[in-house]
Symmetry: C2
Subunit: 281 residues, 2 copies
Amino acid sequence: MSKGLSVVKASGIREPFSESKVRRSIRRVRIPASLENQVVRHVREKLYDGIPTQEIYKHIREFLGSSSAPYSKSMYGLKQAIMQLGPSGFPFEKYIARVLEHHGFLTRTNVIAAGKCVQHEVDVVAEKDGGRFMIECKFHNRPGSRSDVKVALYVQARFEDLERGMQGKTDEQKFSQPWLVTNTKFTTEAIAYGECVGMWVVGWSHPESGDLQSLIESGRLHPVTCLTTLTEGEAKELLRNNIVMCKQILSEKDALQAMGFPKERRDMVEAEVNAICSQER
Amino acid sequence: MSKGLSVVKASGIREPFSESKVRRSIRRVRIPASLENQVVRHVREKLYDGIPTQEIYKHIREFLGSSSAPYSKSMYGLKQAIMQLGPSGFPFEKYIARVLEHHGFLTRTNVIAAGKCVQHEVDVVAEKDGGRFMIECKFHNRPGSRSDVKVALYVQARFEDLERGMQGKTDEQKFSQPWLVTNTKFTTEAIAYGECVGMWVVGWSHPESGDLQSLIESGRLHPVTCLTTLTEGEAKELLRNNIVMCKQILSEKDALQAMGFPKERRDMVEAEVNAICSQER
C-alpha cells in the first residue's frame, strides 16, 4: 500500500516513504515491540502521496498518546519539543548547558570573554577532564532550516580571536576547542569545515555517534516542553523560571507548587516525568 | 517651531530633530542653495513629535520632485533606492562590482575559490594596482538593520580558509585583503573587529572618508532604482537584464528599446539619467 508513495520533509524536499525510518524513530523511544507494529499499521492507513513528514509524526504522536504506553508520546516529539524552547535562543542555551552537566561537564552560560580584537559573548563554557570548550548554541525556530557554513565560520573566527587574546595567559584560561551545537541539521559544507578545523559540531542526527538526540535520550534529559500533562503556557512559565529539563521538576519539587499547581496536577506531571526519566523499558 | 521635537529612526531609536542633518543630506545631492532653505521650510511645516525619519525623507522627495530641480529627487533617495535592488542580494553584488569598476578595479562576480577546508563563493573579486580583494556583499532588506560582528567574523574566517588553501600558489592567485561591503550601517563591534584584523569595511556612512554614499555620489554611479521616470516594475526588468546603474542606460542604448519603450519615454528616461550623471551643478 505504501509502495511508491513519497513524503515531503520540513525542508520541502520530497523523498520516498520509508517504513524502516518510521520503525527506527519509534525504537529510539523504546516503546514495546508489539506496539511498533501497531504504529506502522496506523501510519500506513494515513499515508497518501506527498504527505508531509510532520503530519506522519502527528499521527504517530496521537496514536501513542492513546496507546498502552501513553508516555512514549512525550518522548516521541523530541525535535518539536526542543523547537518549543524558542522563539528566543536563550532557553536552548540553558538546556544545552544542563545536558552537558548531566554528561559530567562543569558549565557556565553567557560568559563575556575578551578576544584580541573585540569582546565575545560565549553561550556556554563547558569544562571536563582539563578541556575547556567554547560552545556556540545555534537555535533555529523553523523546522527544516539548517546551520550553514557561515555559522561554523564565525564560530571559528571567534575562537581564533579569543585564542589570540589569550596569549600569555595560563592554559586554564584558554579554550581548548570550539563547539557548535544546534537543534537542526547542518549543511554538508558546515560539517566538512568543522571537521577540517577541529570544531566539534553537534546537531540533529550528527555526528553519527553522539548526536543531540542520543545525548538527550541516553540520559533521559528531555526538555519540559515534552510534557503532555502541561499546557504550552505552563511549560513557558517553567522555562522562565530556569526549569528547562523534565528531571528538574523532580529535584526542584516546589517549582510546580509555586506556580499554583494543586496536589493532584503535580502528581500527574511528576508521574509523566518519572515515566520519561525511568531508565528501564 | 522645531525646538524639542524628536524623530524616530528606522532602527526605532528616537533622537532630537536636527535641522543641520537635513541640510547636510540635501547638500550631498548638490541642489541649489536657494532650494535648500525652501526644503527646510517645507520640512518644518510637516514636523510633529515622533515623526519617523522615513516620513521626513518622503516629504523632501515629494518637494524636490515638484521643485525647479526635479532630478535632485532621483538622487536624494539613494539609501532607499539601493534597498530597492532587493529582495535578493544578487543585484547589489553586481552593482557593487560596477561601482568598483568605475573606481578603476577589475571585477568578477560569484567566483568559486577553494579554501583549505571547503570551497567558498566570493561575491566580488576586485583587482587594482597588484591588490586582489575578496569582497563579501551583505545586502539588508530592512532599513535600520545593521551588519554585526558575526558577519565580519565569518568573512575573516573565509579569508583565512582561502589563505590556507592558497599556500604554495603564486601571489597573483592569493587574496591580499578581505572587504565587507553593506548597504546599511555596521555595529561598533563589527567596525572594531574589522579594523583590528585589517578588513576593509564599507557601508552606510562608514568609513568617514570613502563610505558607500561617496563612492556612488563622487562618480555619479546611482542605481537604476533611483530613476523616477521608471516604474518599479521597469527598474526590476532592467536589473534582470544586468543593467543596475543609471549610466549603463546611456552606454547600452538598446536596452530600453528592447524592453518596448517608445522613443518619447526613452528620451524622458535618458534626460533623467543625464541630469543625474552630469558632474556640474
